[in-house]
Structure formats: structure tokens, C-alpha cells
């Protein structure tokens, strides 16, 4: 197996709220190989975005990283001084933000916003940076890139803003792309084209992609592997085919069962309850309160993430072979 590009171990992020500390991410571990597309799936509030912020070193008070390590190309990002980290951000790791329109600066032209990254990270002279920015816009499929480069975010459609974000994230040729709900708020066709674009560009530039989404359909079409998060914890990780064909964790099974399908006429199963409040997280499995299989042990003890097959790990007592 090749050395992982990104390796997160035992990551914990805590937010000190007025009502008490909340562990938004608790003991998360992830591995991402070069060029791999990993889907990070979970409901809202499961800690997906916070994980991405932690990778970029953007967890700000009241949040803080409690423990763990985030190794990118062998270096622990959590131990890097801020100035070094800034060189990794943007240059080594690109980010596609959740709401492209508000993530673009309203008073700078989109071309300028791409060009300044090239100037800062790649040291390109202004003219070359401008030309390269237009080229990037062409690459992400924006028609009339010369004209669009001179426009502002409010003059572009939502889909086009997302293309600009992707162009911006990829302009400096990062090895890793974090995509946080890149298709939220876009209509289905545009969303599909954006995903297609991401996959294609990822393949062409060799960048690995961490795709954060709540949409399993997107994951099924785009990802190599999937990691499922629930209430700040990883509950299952597997290759995408395995996960859809043979989900093991009750939460994963519930998620997969909640995907509408046209070929089978089955009533959709909603998952009971909501992501539990992490304010007074119970000592045991955080899914126990919503789980049909929960036993007394589940409420007392936290199941560890254990392999049940090569490259397939689950954190559930029910999945463990009976000793």
C-alpha cells in the first residue's frame, strides 16, 4: 500500500459553548491515498465540516483541537507553525466551500481572486497569473472565460460560482482537495455536472479528494471509499461498493435504506431521532439512543473501530465476532 497522503489519527475537536463543552469530533481517524476520492458522509451536525476546518488549521475559538494528529505528506499539520501552515493551505490543500457565492469576495473580480493565489503561492508575475486564471476558468468549463474573469460573484449563477470556486481551489495544483458539500443549493443537473467536473479534474491533476456530503447518491457515483460519521465519531469505513452492498453498522444500514430507489418499490425508512446533543454525550455508543439493536453494553461502553474485512472497519458491538 502506498504511503497515505493524508492521515488523521484520533482527532478530537471541542467547542466551548455557554452550556458546556461539545466534542464536535471525537477520536476520528481517516486515511486518504494519493489520487483517492473519499466520501465523508453523515447528517448535519455530525462533524464533517469541522473535520475539514481542522485539516486546514482553521478551527478558531471557541473551538480548539483537543488531541490527535493530522499528517499531510508526512508532516503533522497540527504541529506546524502558522506561517508554514499557510504555505500548505491553498498550495498543498485546496478547499471548495459550501456556499460558493458567499465564499467569493464580493468586491474583487473572480479572475483577480484566482490570480492572487497564483501570485502568492506560485510566485507568478501579475500578467502570467491573470492569463493562468483565465485558463483555469476555461478548464472548469466556464464559457467566455476572459469576460467572466473580469466579473464579480454577484454577476454569476450559482453553478458558475461553484465552478469558479473549483478553479480557485485547483489553480495552485494542490495534492488534496477538500470539497465541503460542493453541490448544495445547485439544481440536480448542475450538481451532477459539478461532480463530474470534480472527478475528472481530480483524475487529471492527480489530486486526492475528500468529499464531504450528506448525499449518499453523490458518494455512490463519485467515491472510491466512504467514511460514515455520526455525532462526531466514525462508525464505518469501507470501499464504496462494499458499503452499499453490505453495510454493517446499523446507522449505515439506515442511511443506505433511506436512499430512494426507482427500481425497487420499497417504503423509505426514516432514521428515528436526530443526531444526539453532544453537550452531555453518553459514555457509550452515540448511536445507541437511535439504534434498534442497542443493548445495555452499547449504552455503557464505546465500541472501537475494528476491521471486519480488509479495508472495512466498523464500530459496533453487534458486528464484532462473538468471542
Amino acid at each position: 500500500m502506498t504511503a497515505p497522503l493524508l492521515e488523521i489519527e484520533d482527532l478530537a475537536v471541542r467547542f466551548d459553548t455557554e452550556d458546556g463543552p461539545v466534542e464536535a469530533v471525537d477520536g476520528l481517524g481517516l486515511r486518504l491515498a494519493p489520487g483517492e476520492i473519499l466520501g465523508l458522509v453523515g447528517e448535519s451536525g455530525s462533524g464533517k465540516s469541522v473535520t475539514a476546518y481542522a485539516v486546514l488549521g482553521l478551527v478558531r475559538p471557541p473551538g480548539r483541537v483537543l488531541r490527535g494528529s493530522i499528517r499531510f505528506e508526512g508532516r503533522d499539520l497540527l504541529a506546524l507553525p502558522e506561517a508554514e501552515l499557510r504555505r500548505v493551505r491553498g498550495a498543498g490543500i485546496g478547499m471548495v466551500w459550501q456556499s460558493p457565492r458567499t465564499a467569493l469576495n464580493p468586491v474583487l473580480t473572480v479572475g483577480h481572486q484566482i490570480a492572487r493565489l497564483l501570485r502568492h503561492h506560485r510566485g507568478l508575475p501579475p500578467r502570467a497569473a491573470r492569463e493562468r486564471a483565465v485558463e483555469m476558468l476555461r478548464l472548469v468549463g466556464i464559457p467566455e472565460p476572459e469576460r467572466r474573469a473580469r466579473q464579480y460573484a454577484h454577476q454569476l449563477s450559482g453553478g458558475m460560482c461553484q465552478r469558479v470556486m473549483i478553479a480557485m481551489a485547483l489553480a495552485t495544483q494542490p495534492r488534496l482537495l477538500l470539497a465541503d458539500e460542493p453541490t448544495t443549493g445547485l439544481d440536480v443537473l448542475v450538481a451532477a455536472r459539478i461532480m463530474e467536473l470534480l472527478k475528472d479534474l481530480g483524475r487529471r491533476t492527480g489530486a486526492a479528494i475528500l468529499l464531504i456530503t450528506h448525499d449518499l447518491g453523490t458518494v455512490a457515483e463519485s467515491c472510491d471509499r466512504v467514511a460514515v460519521m455520526h455525532a462526531g465519531q466514525l462508525v464505518e469505513t469501507a470501499p464504496v461498493r462494499t458499503l452499499f452492498r453490505d453495510p454493517v453498522h446499523p446507522y449505515t444500514r439506515a442511511l443506505v435504506a433511506a436512499i430512494p430507489r426507482v427500481d425497487r418499490e420499497v417504503a423509505l425508512e426514516p432514521i428515528p431521532g436526530a443526531v444526539p446533543s453532544l453537550l452531555h454525550a453518553p459514555p457509550g455508543c452515540r448511536y445507541a439512543a437511535r439504534c434498534a439493536l442497542a443493548t445495555g453494553r452499547c449504552r455503557q461502553e464505546r465500541p472501537a473501530l475494528l476491521p471486519i474485512a480488509p479495508d472495512h472497519q466498523v464500530a459496533c458491538f453487534a458486528a464484532e465476532p462473538v468471542a
Binding site: L56, R89, G90, M95, W97, L104, V107, L108, Y152
Partner: protein
Amino acid sequence: MGFGGFLLRRLALTVPTLFGVTVVGFLLAYMLPGNPALVKAGPFATPDFVAEVERQMGLDQPLPVQYLRYLGALLQGDLGLSSSTGRPVLADFAQRLPATLELTLAALLIAIGIGVPLGVLSAIHRDTLLDHAGRVLSVAGVAMPSFWTGLLLIYVFFYLLDLAPAPLGRLAPGLQPPAAVTGLYVVDSALAGDWPALRSALQHLALPAATLGIAVMAPVARMVRATMLETLQSDFVKAAWGAGLPPRRVIYGDALRNALIPVVTILGVVFGFLMAGNAVVESVFAWPGIGNYAVTSLMTKDAGPIQSFVLFVALMYVVVNLAVDLLYGLIDPRIRLG
């Protein structure tokens, strides 16, 4: 595109505003206690003479007629005569305006020069000692009335420390004002290379400008702090951090540029406040500007200068707000003029 049309429409909109101001200014002068004819005729005039003066001044006519006469004269650029100086109000104004402009601009410069950095620093170092100190300074600046700040500054810098010259006018006695180019002594003396005059002009300008500037610095600083805090939380600033841009560029390039957009709006309001605050500060420092002129006229119930002052302040408001609107189009591409 369509800029000329936008400008025309905006200018047309100012007509009703200014018309309303003439009504208010006129009524204000009319309702002043005391009889201007009596003041003009002098303390020893006979009632017959006073009646004669009233007739000359048109004060025996019904109110609407008086107003229409006033308006008619106004449209011809005739602001009337000042009964205390005996000269046309327009001439008096023209003579005093540069002094007021110099004071106002200097105060605005102080307010922006201190207010904006203070607001930015307060936002970046939120809830630290610096932020609290800035807040205290701002509250003090707003809470202290200008005449009090002025007197305090005079007491400390002139009486106690002897750093500032006597608060009497724009230049030390015995110095010739520089040849008028802009009418601003600081600029003109610098242009003429008249260093003693420049020095004296700056010394005389410092305290009154600081007095006015401190008062309006506070709202500027608070506004910058508030909008800065908001933009620092915005998605695009987060994205800029995430893209590894250096802090200085994120804070000043991304955040401040967006944070300043709403601040431009209050500059219009601040300017209006400065024009009004001028009257007090000019009186305290015997500054020969139009505010001082208006206050003096108020004492002598001299209607012409008062009406003109009201009209002028309103005109400045209108002009400045128009300028703010135009400026908006320049700094915020989301606003398309036309």
C-alpha cells in the same frame, strides 16, 4: 452606463428637499423671538421709525408674501443683507466658508485617521484591553459635548501646558494670511512656502479640529469595529484564510475593503454633524467661520444669515449624500448606478 441619467435623477430629487429646507429656514427665522426691525432701527428709534423700517423690510406683508419674496430673491442668488455687518450675506458667507471648510476637513481627517484604525484593531483584538480602551475612548468622545471638550483642551494645552496658542482665530496676530488659492490657510501657506504662517495655521487649527474630530471619531470607530467583526466572520474571509493568504492581506484586502462600505454611509451623517457642531466649536475658539457667523447672527436676531446657514447646511447634506451614493458605486460593484 446610464451614469448621466442617474446623476440627473438624483439631482432632481434634491429639489423638493431643498425647497422644504427653505420653508423651514424661513419659518425658523420668522419665529425667532424679537423684532428684527427693532434691532435694525436701534434702541432709541421711535415707534414710527420702527414701523417705517418694518415696511422697508417687507415685514408688514402677510407671511406667504414674505416667503415668496424671500424665495424669489434666493433664486437670484440674493441671500439678503446682514443687518449686523451691513453686507450681503453671500459675501459674508464666501469670506467665512474657507475657515469652516478647513476646520471640517481637518476634523474629518482626524476622525477617519484615528477612527478607522481604532475600529480595525478593536475588531481584531476583540474583548482585549485594547478593545475596552477603544470603547472607553469612543464613549467619552460621544458623551462629552463639544464646547466642553474644547474648553478642556484649551485649559490643558493652552493654560496649563502652554503648547497651543490662544484660541483666537486662525493665525497668530501680526501674521499676514497667505495668498488665497483654496482659502485653507494650511494649504495656501504651504503652497506659498510661507513657513511661519503654516506653522501658526497648524497650531491654531489643532485644538478646534481635535475637538470636533474626537466627537465624530467615536461613531466611525464603533461602526468600523462592528462591520469589521461581521466581515471577519464571513465566508469569503474564512475562504481567504483557507487559501493561505497572509493575515495582512486577508484583514486589509478582504475584510476591511468590505467593512468600509457601510462606513462610507455614516461619513455622510458625520459630515452633517460636523457642520452643525462647527457652530459651537467655532464660537469657543473664535474661529471666523460660518458657524460662528450664524451664532452671532442668532444673538442679534439677524434673519438673513440664519436662514442662509440652515439652507447651506442642508445643501451640504444633500451634496455629501449624493457624493456618498456615487462613491458607493465605485467601491461596491454590486451597486449598479443607472
